[in-house]
Symmetry: D2
Subunit: 314 residues, 4 copies
């Protein structure tokens, strides 16, 4: 049935030990594997696969790639054909090339982002187990992020947003839930939100100057966890870009903040709504764009449009 969810985000960080402490003590993830080159693999307590975040020691804080998990191994063959028919070259990486994963279909999105699909990753299980589980882990740390929920990728201009959006709809069968339209008669999509689940977004795209990653997001239950998370961030001098807010778009409750390397992160809370293929697409017009992003003030805030993570190209 194709893509199920975001599997992992792979980024470069400046100080691997500082990052380890940050993601473990403040965000509440656990390091589940450590490579000789210092690369760390981490998972959230509510995830069952071995990792959802890869941190590579580097001299630049850049984005390497993002990987999504498909339901069946045979989906990879089906999707390879569809992607190549679209005109994009792909290659299969053998099992084990991507750490602790089965074979991986690797290619570049029309937006220029390195993208991977896989059907199998080593299994660890939730911290709460699968027999008579507690609703949350009593010994969890810091913010106790549930899972990595989505990423917002930055594309070069609205045309790139529109092309990659169409690609996700046509090739991956994602559903467009919301869009920001700009230009004459709102003919351009400046940003789009797409889902392959019933949550408001599993990936999103926004027009900017460069190819990169605006942020990726950790899921929290609700507004009270947002307050607690912001308190924990303040106690640890985390740089917060945008304090607790309501998004108009997705209805989510949010904080934007930075990791020690300057990668923008989000804590996103709330189901928002039940996303469905037949739900009318929600449109935010150019004049209400900032109401969509920061519902309470309706105005630009923080470094939202200027700070993001560049794509690492080789």
């Amino acid at each position: 049935m194709g893509i199920m969810r975001l599997g992992h985000v792979d980024i470069n960080v400046l100080n691997i030990e500082e990052s380890r402490t940050y993601y473990e003590e403040i965000m509440g993830l656990t390091v589940t594997r450590e490579d000789k080159d210092g690369t760390l693999y981490l998972k959230c307590w509510d995830e069952w696969d071995k990792y959802s975040l890869v941190l590579r020691p580097s001299e630049e804080a850049t984005f390497n790639k993002i990987a999504y998990k498909v339901k069946n191994d045979s989906d990879l063959d089906d999707l390879k054909i569809k992607v190549e028919n679209y005109g994009i070259e792909t290659k299969f990486l053998e099992a084990g090339v991507v750490t602790d994963c089965g074979r991986v279909l690797s290619f570049t999105l029309p937006s220029g982002h390195s993208f991977q699909l896989y059907a199998q990753k080593e299994f660890i299980g939730k911290d709460t187990g699968d027999t008579n589980p507690a609703p949350w882990p009593f010994k969890g740390k810091g913010i106790k992020a549930h899972w990595i929920d989505h990423a917002l990728l930055m594309c070069q201009g609205p045309e790139a947003v529109m092309e990659v959006t169409k690609f996700f709809i046509d090739i991956f069968d994602f559903t467009l839930t919301e869009q920001v339209t700009v230009g004459p008669d709102g003919c351009l999509q400046a940003a789009t939100w797409l889902t392959c689940s019933s949550t408001p977004h599993d990936i999103a795209f926004v027009a900017g100057e460069e190819v990169g990653m605006h942020h990726f997001a950790f899921f929290l239950d609700g507004w009270n966890d947002i307050l607690r998370a912001a308190d924990v961030m303040a106690m640890h001098n985390v740089k917060i870009d945008v304090t607790p807010q309501r998004h108009g778009i997705t209805r989510g409750e949010t904080i934007y903040f930075f990791d020690p390397s300057g990668h923008r992160l989000e804590t996103f809370a709330g189901l928002g709504y039940l996303a469905q293929p037949d739900m009318p697409v929600i449109t935010w017009t150019e004049d209400e764009l900032w109401r969509g992003i920061f519902y309470h003030t309706g105005i630009e805030n923080g470094a939202f449009t200027t700070a993001y993570t560049l794509h690492a190209y080789k």
Copy 2:
């Protein structure tokens, strides 16, 4: 792509005017159609199709049927074949036979419940619209239920639960998220929770004496809406069966209560977790069954096992 979600619940009520007031003023639904025979069709503010609840004036408070919506009209043809191959007779009702719906595939579940599938229902839209929408309707009434989220159907014994569960997995491609196992070595499923979305359940089954409906549930955002809902119920002398609780199963936050005819309803809040086809099935063992249902006390409470709605057979 098959089934998307619960489309509507169709029940008989004792006093149609009392029911109208109850569902409109307390639950916050809107009557969108009224038939000459007194039948009322209602929708929640966050739903876009014309109705999700059908109330028929009657001398008995019984369950008529439950309907799920599929993505494409052609899914109905595919599912007809699969259901018939399973050995269940089906029939197509022409467009309009089920009020304001396209053609409907109608049959009886292995558990004995009348079940319908449809791909098209008249469209109305969310109360908040689809252009620059507010996150919730300022003029909403009472509890402001978002949508009808799921139903728990009662089956005659664990074998019936097991058969209908297998049916939903094999024929409808639902995912089993949680189960209560009983009997020697936990060989029997006394209750199951199944999803076709990424929420913890779109339908559930429990073993009992009769064929019927244990409850259907309205979605609320979170724990604070649960308190507000319980307050509103108390202000209106709604009979509450189980006060605000945490479910172990689904992690949901809940209230069980009754409508004026005695149908058990639930307000269910929280995403719970991100349900996925590859998430390990969560098992509740017989000794922790009540911890699963009422997490805080772990003991039976209210009329949970004795009060339910019988199926209306003709």
Copy 3:
């Protein structure tokens, strides 16, 4: 200015080590002193005086006494005169007789409860300090109770409630905030809530069969802390008597549960309202008594009227 607040509760417990673990790991208090006879003194993180709870190893789980703190040492002299003029014998205990306290005025309330007043207790300070403090302690344990908020003392019949209520109003200048009235024309007070602060109650009295303590309560911020507390209790198999509820009386959000010795405790959350001397007294009539106690159902629940702690008399 007289009495400021509840200073400490002094009770006997069956298993001192089990109690230590319970109050430290689950309730989040800290043992600040331990006597050779095994007596433990504990404080909550948001309290500044050395202890608010005294646990004495014993073969019976009984109530010894309750102590309130007055503002000035000279208040003790003033209150001694007022209490004796009322017709109650008092005695002064020298500094140090009550552990780590200054001199203590000791007497028996008209209701038969041992009662003490003091102006000075050894100072420790809040866990968060008093310079640029965090809003809560990151390393706090379990439920992280803020402070001991109030106690509900059980009296022998409504007449005893009425007498001790009048005593607190006339002698201690407490304000009656709420009352349950019963009997012909509601001529009897079956329960009263009294405050010396601007919270809804600093002490309360209820009519029963015996002289004892119904419960004492730990303060939590709000409804979400109540859910978290109930989850923590469930994770530790704490016996919960009454799951998360709204009180009609005080509007508080609450859980009733038991410590390992069977003392009933409460987590009480919310300011409720701003209590003031000129706020009209809120009256709950006999027919709405249970609505006052458990607002959502309006019916008796748990062992609320049958389980309590007897007074230890020598």
Copy 4:
């Protein structure tokens, strides 16, 4: 025993009808009296006296005076002596001169603010009544503010803050709960928070350029009401200065925003802590000043130091 609470705030507004709509429909107050000159008197649902806010039609949006209520009429005589002994002239206004109030003791604070004390105001009662009351009014409007909680008055420089703070402690028996200290060795108080109840503040003072009012605050229960309030503000295009935040000072949860005339308002939620005369004063040092004000970022935000209401002098 002297001052109980903030009784009313008296301000001038630019457009009386716009203000009426704003305070009634958005803030949820009720107009309880309207004078021929257009002056409006309003109360919150959880207040029992006739009004807590006076809005006078004017060509300037200025502050007239603030009034506090004392417990007994005789307190006014006692306080008159204390204030005059301090060296401040006072005068008694006869009953009725201040609308619907008994006699009023009127004088100017050392900080230059017009200040009034009264013991009696016409009684209306809470919207929920005083017999078997609901915890909140089902038909309440908008934000449903509970009561006017406190005001922050702006003084000319730290010396003025220090003088008026000492005045409130010595003459009115208020307790200093928190302070911001600046200057060499923190010798100056740049801001102070004082209470006459057990909430963190009933009045506060901050050093600025002019004599005026920084804001006055409406009480809400907690963080979820803050989100709901911000949503309601956004739905009505209220100008929000500071979106939902945690205060380090008082621990309160807050929004700062403006009324149609530009008066800064606050919704303040949470008890914060139990303020007591013997609680150690909390000090925020100059380097952590903004952490105290906006705990999450610790940096200046909005127009917090530049926008305020000037005192109207005649």
